[in-house]
Symmetry: C2
């Protein structure tokens, strides 16, 4: 009895969809069927959107953001504070900060964090480019918006060391209770940090 | 402050991905970033797989299955039992039965189930085609593999009525305890059916 009911083209589509984060083999099949049923309304637009993205998407040569223009929309936005650079590990973090309207500044995407165990060293990240941007005269502050993990904090320390003699303030994100979070569910480290860094009501 | 960080092409890709079942807005963004990062390994193949599927996929004119050939692979497979037609509501159900190697027969996809509340009547489903297939001389049995829901069972009854005078056996799936299922979590209807339809050990 054959294992592949549908043709090889459909199997291939399912296999590729299953490689997207968040889609397993079962949901990839559902997605493929959905696409096939909405051929004109969804499948055709998605095929052409992917093609357009393939042709147009570039990595910003200044900050490492992903955009269809180079330098990217963020880097060329004159209304942004030119004195602050927000350092993030990944484009997803940049997008998250922008969605939150957290800061109106420019960014620098490292492309990961230092991780000796995984063999990720300084030469694998955009650290040299960051150091040279940090020495630009208009730059006054670097906000290290890195994950509060061992690798993230190692990277933050490494960058801080390198900028020891540069005339730039290096800051990092506050630790504390997430907005809407319940104390009962928080770990001891976060609770201690939230107490230490308490602010006036 | 702009809400769209990336270009309109990327936003469009994210919006389309978010319309796939199983992907919300957040996971669609992750999927888009993943695609962009794996431009050659994943994005290009997916774009071309979608294009190929667009061009090649057809609905089988015999059974309603989705395939790249018409009549489909299942209908043209001479090793299948030609005397049995398995009636399913949706192509997804056909695929599920094939994955389970549940039966080596041909299928008939209704394209849904009767649902007076949603305005789905017999004319909206491939019921006429089924009735004429059921009258083909080699067909001896129709297995109604429809959901054990009100709509599924209404559809099963409706089809059984129509085939009242045809020389064909109409059967339906057994009710009972799912393999690996725990009695404690089953509803009363399933438990009663499992007792009623008990088999010799």
């Amino acid at each position: 009895m054959p294992t592949a009911v549908a043709g090889p083209e459909i199997e291939r589509l399912i296999q590729l969809l299953a490689r997207l984060p968040g889609l397993g083999p079962r949901s990839a099949r559902r997605a493929a069927l959905h696409l096939i049923k909405k051929r004109e309304l969804l499948m055709a637009p998605l095929a052409s959107a992917l093609q357009t993205a393939m042709e147009k998407i570039e990595i910003c040569k200044t900050c490492g953001n992903i955009d269809t223009q180079n330098p990217c929309t963020v880097c060329t936005d004159a209304r942004r504070d030119q004195s602050i650079i927000v350092v993030v590990a990944d484009v997803a973090d940049l997008w998250a900060l922008e969605r939150a309207h957290a800061v109106n500044a420019r960014y620098h995407v490292l492309g990961g964090t230092l991780s000796p165990l995984d063999g990720v060293g300084p030469q694998d990240l955009a650290i040299d480019a960051l150091i040279s941007r940090a020495h630009e005269p208009q730059v006054k502050e670097l906000i290290l918006a890195l994950n509060a993990t061992v690798d993230g904090q190692t990277t933050a320390h490494y960058i801080t060391e390198l900028l020891h003699e540069a005339n730039v303030k290096v800051t990092r994100l506050a630790h504390g209770v997430p907005v809407g979070g319940e104390l009962d569910y928080l770990d001891e480290g976060t609770l201690s940090a939230a107490i230490k860094q308490r602010t006036l009501f």
